[in-house]
Assembly symmetry: C2
Homo-oligomer: 276 residues x 2
């Protein structure tokens, strides 16, 4: 079903200004060696709602390995543009973040991936109504961006990593950058499990009164020396946040104990009555 057939449904699915905003983000992969990495990067992009892929002189593209690794993100590959220079890839971009794991000389600011995302959001607020773009730029698998390539970017960005092994896979770096961007533009909503009606304060207080009475009756709680038993139970259930149905279950268990106590007592009485 296309968006034209059911605009309402489509709106519910990617409901938003957010996806319109993310459409202004261009991911630029420079001199990528392995087409499989291009496909994996396309998949990483599309999971976060990015769809503009520009390839600067890739070793081999299109390629079946790219297709295979893209999994369901074929449309990103279908729309990918191939250019010959980074300058061409950045035409029409007002801001570009060049990713580098490797310390080096760079004239501009060096941002963490999270700072990059914060700044990108500010830039996107300015470019969104126009046809301008911002770009996230990634170098080759083996050596990243050259100094000359990084110098063409507005800022350098870097993903915090293990100093003993900072070598993120190309698609993994694209995934983290795109994820940070998605969260930063406010599209970080996630699924929630269904919740049931909470119990009211008075229902909960009746539960505690019932519990106290039953625990005394069965001998577990000594009213002369109650210690911290009831406060501990209150603490436990307060932390859980009781639902109405759960109060009913707990009172059902208490009622069961009450019934057992009644049976035992009447058994005692019978025993007494029968003169045993």
């Amino acid at each position: 079903m296309t968006s034209k057939e059911n605009p309402n449904n489509c709106k519910a699915l990617h409901s938003d200004t957010e996806s319109a905003t993310l459409s202004h983000v261009r991911v630029v992969l420079v001199h990528t060696s392995h087409p499989g990495n291009i496909g994996a990067a396309a998949r990483a992009m599309w999971t976060m709602g990015l769809s503009q892929l520009v390839l600067v002189s890739p070793s081999r593209f299109p390629a079946p390995e790219a297709r295979a690794m893209a999994s369901g993100a074929d449309e990103v590959l279908d729309r990918a543009r191939r250019v010959t220079t980074l300058a061409e890839a950045l035409t029409g971009c007002v801001w570009a973040a060049g990713f580098s794991a490797r310390p080096r000389a760079f004239a501009g600011r060096v941002l963490t991936a999270r700072q990059m995302a914060g700044e990108a959001v500010q830039q996107l607020a300015a470019v969104s109504p126009s046809s301008k773009n911002i770009a996230l730029v990634f170098g080759t698998e083996m050596s990243g961006l050259s100094n000359a390539e990084l110098a063409q970017c507005t800022v350098a960005a870097t993903i915090p990593a293990n100093p003993r092994y900072s070598s993120l896979n190309l698609a993994a770096a694209v995934q983290v950058a795109a994820y940070e961007l998605r969260v930063a533009v406010g599209a970080g909503a996630v699924w929630q499990a269904p919740r049931f009606a909470g119990a009211t304060v008075d229902e909960i207080e009746r539960l505690y009164a019932h519990a106290e009475a039953t625990l005394i009756a069965c001998g577990f709680l000594n009213p002369e020396r109650p210690k911290r038993l009831l406060p501990r139970l209150r603490r436990l259930f307060a932390r859980a946040g009781l639902e109405r149905e759960e109060v009913n279950i707990l009172r059902g268990i208490l009622a069961e104990i009450d019934a057992l106590l009644e049976t035992t007592k009447s058994g005692d009485r019978k025993e007494i009555n029968s003169g045993k």
Copy 2:
């Protein structure tokens, strides 16, 4: 060079309480189908400083594809444990986050990856001195965790994603989760480019005075109608934050203009003197 040969150097490299903290994080992969994904997940873990990998009944492991995809993270694979049930994998864990992209019934709380990381840090503060652990749990490539598996986890965690295509690759999900954890434990420091000495306020004021004189002399600035030229130049250079060396370069250019003006004037004088 091993850490025993040069403990100081090693300390500088992974300097920290942070890596000690991260050693208490167990990544559990349940019923993974493709050994290549185990290798890619190991690489993702190790880039973020996680090294404890537990595999619940993987289809095939060890396997050459795992080795190939792990790239430099072999030590994570070498130390990986293989168990038969999730319960076994979670033994000794005080807290476990089960990852699920798919909405479903779950009794506990559902957290974003970032909230998960925040809560994990609190849990790590408690377990770090002990031999206890916390766990990040990931299901199969095709269908994720089952409801019964997720129910064994303390919280559900989910990575915000494109509602039209939320299918992160297994290793990509491990990468994002491990990245959030690394940033949350405070190991998010990154490289910075070398910076040069900043110019002093008086050096900068002398630059502006020089610029004003030269721009008047060459006729670009009319002192009768200065408009906003000097304030605009101040704004530009203030934003850049001038370094001493840059002030010297700019004053060198101004001096060059001064010299040119001098030559032109003496040329004029010569022309006047020669009676032309």
